[in-house]
């Protein structure tokens, strides 16, 4: 297991109930798929939200080192050791009404 790349995964505020309040968690994997599997095993509720059925949910953008994985190789996108992975659903808030 020691060879696996460990990445930092940033958790958006709306998913912090599922991450036990953590703003950032660690997960390991050579590819995003492996990393999401690892993340799901550590935080099943979070996994259920964003990685249901082994697929990334369409309302969550995933960035590996600042790049949208949809423009790379999706779940096959390689993840380097020390990479930053951002999970990002859209936020509507502007706090007015219109």
């Amino acid at each position: 297991m020691s060879a696996l790349a460990t990445a930092k995964v940033r958790i958006p505020p709306v998913l912090r109930t599922e991450s036990g309040g953590a703003r950032e968690v660690e997960a390991s994997g050579e590819t995003l798929r492996e990393l999401m599997e690892d993340l799901t095993s550590r935080l099943p509720e979070l996994g259920a939200r964003v990685y249901e059925g082994g697929e990334l949910q369409p309302f969550v953008n995933v960035y590996v080192d600042g790049e949208d994985v949809r423009t790379r190789s999706g779940l096959d996108t390689p993840v380097r050791a020390g990479a930053t992975v951002i999970l990002l659903p859209a936020m509507a808030g502007g706090c007015g009404r219109c």
Partner: protein, 382 residues
């Protein structure tokens, strides 16, 4: 010694005078306005160059290097230009004339007038800190004064945006908001105050803006933005949209309309301690649907009313949006087109991710499948 009148008469007899009709029909003549700066600023003949009488001899060679060129001078009534014509004759200019009756007669006869294109002394003072920046300067400030910006929402993001846009001298600010000011707004919505509790937010914001800068025309739309009214509102001629909406249906509606009307959107959104800012510029970068093809399910999309927000956060994010809007209006710098800026107020960290156009985007892609407004509430409730 002659009196002034006698001297003027003698000079006029020595030079050539033309009337406004001759000037209208002038072929290739250089028209020189020899009045003072303040007179020029109040209006002048289109196409004229401005050289005040006191600088005429020293500057004419730069403006008209060829002494055989046809030159017509004008002032307010034809006196200063007569003296100027005589002086240019002495400098060797061969075809110089003075406009009889000057700009006064020109206007009286209903000929075309170029309206002021420089800042009044009051505006020079008000915007002096902009004028000192080479990238802005008088030209940039005039662009701001000519810019029309539509704010979606007069709440957390719209408040700082409206204040800074107004202070910057954006000439026309439209505000769409159907809501009323209440006490829970005052923790962050700085365009409103205790004095305007219970009044429409658009009126409250208008009052605040007008107290700050009377150069700004505020166009209030006290209505909720919908598929039914958005074309009418955008038809009022907006150069830019600053989106501070608080719900997904409005976000997607604004996006689709902005693509179809070709109006850039400066996007900002906030929740608790975190904010997102970017610019969607049709044809030049991704749109909101390229970034977020689908809204999250309702339980992952709490509003600030449900989840809360740090009061200063919309101040930061709304100010970042305003920065983008001002750069777009003036045409300077690098904007957030193609980049999503993320701000975390708790760790005080900015980060950035790249966002690309989606060639399969249903609205701005190569083969759009959405070409008219949809039921946005239903789309966001799926």
């Amino acid at each position: 010694m002659p009196t002034y009148r006698e001297l003027l008469q003698r000079v006029k007899s020595e030079i050539s005078e033309v009337d406004a009709r001759d000037v209208q029909e002038r072929n290739g003549a250089v028209l020189v306005d020899v009045r003072e700066r303040d007179e020029w600023e109040e209006g002048h003949i289109p196409g004229a160059v401005h050289i005040p009488r006191g600088n005429l001899e020293s500057r004419i060679e730069n403006a008209v290097p060829d002494r055989s060129s046809k030159v017509v001078l004008y002032c307010a009534s034809g006196a200063r230009s007569a003296f100027g014509a005589k002086a240019l004759g002495e400098l060797g200019y061969e075809d110089v004339s003075s406009l009889a009756g000057g700009f006064t007669d020109w206007k009286r006869n209903g000929y075309e007038v170029q309206l002021p294109r420089s800042l009044s002394p009051e505006r020079r003072t008000r915007y002096s800190r902009h004028l000192l920046i080479p990238e802005v300067g008088e030209a940039g400030q005039l662009k701001l004064l000519d810019t029309s910006i539509l704010l979606i929402g007069a709440g957390g993001l719209g408040s700082p945006a409206s204040l800074y846009l107004a202070a910057a001298g954006v000439g026309r600010i439209g505000i769409v908001d159907a809501d009323i000011v209440d006490e829970t707004n005052l923790q962050r919505q700085i365009a409103h105050s205790l004095d305007t509790l219970g009044t429409p937010k658009v009126d409250s914001a208008k009052r605040t803006i007008e107290a700050l800068n009377p150069d700004v025309e505020v166009v209030p739309y006290r209505e909720r933005l919908t598929s039914e009214n958005i074309d009418r509102i955008l038809g009022d001629g907006w150069d830019l949209i600053v989106d501070g909406a608080d719900n997904f249906p409005t976000r997607y509606l604004v996006n689709d309309a902005s693509v179809w009307h070709d109006v850039p959107v400066v996007h900002g959104s906030i929740y608790r301690f975190e904010g997102q800012v970017t610019v969607f510029k049709p044809g030049d970068g991704p749109c909101y649907r390229c970034l977020f093809p689908e809204p999250p399910p309702a339980e992952l999309a709490p509003s600030c009313a449900e989840g809360g927000v740090l009061g200063v956060l919309p101040g930061i994010v709304g100010s970042l949006q305003t920065n983008e809007a001002i750069k777009l209006a003036i045409g300077i710098g690098d904007t957030l087109v193609g980049r999503l800026l993320l701000f975390d107020a708790l760790s005080t960290e900015f980060s950035e991710v790249r966002i690309d156009r989606n060639p399969d985007c249903p609205v701005c892609g190569e083969h759009p499948t959405i070409t008219e407004y949809i039921d946005y509430v239903e789309f966001c409730a799926r």
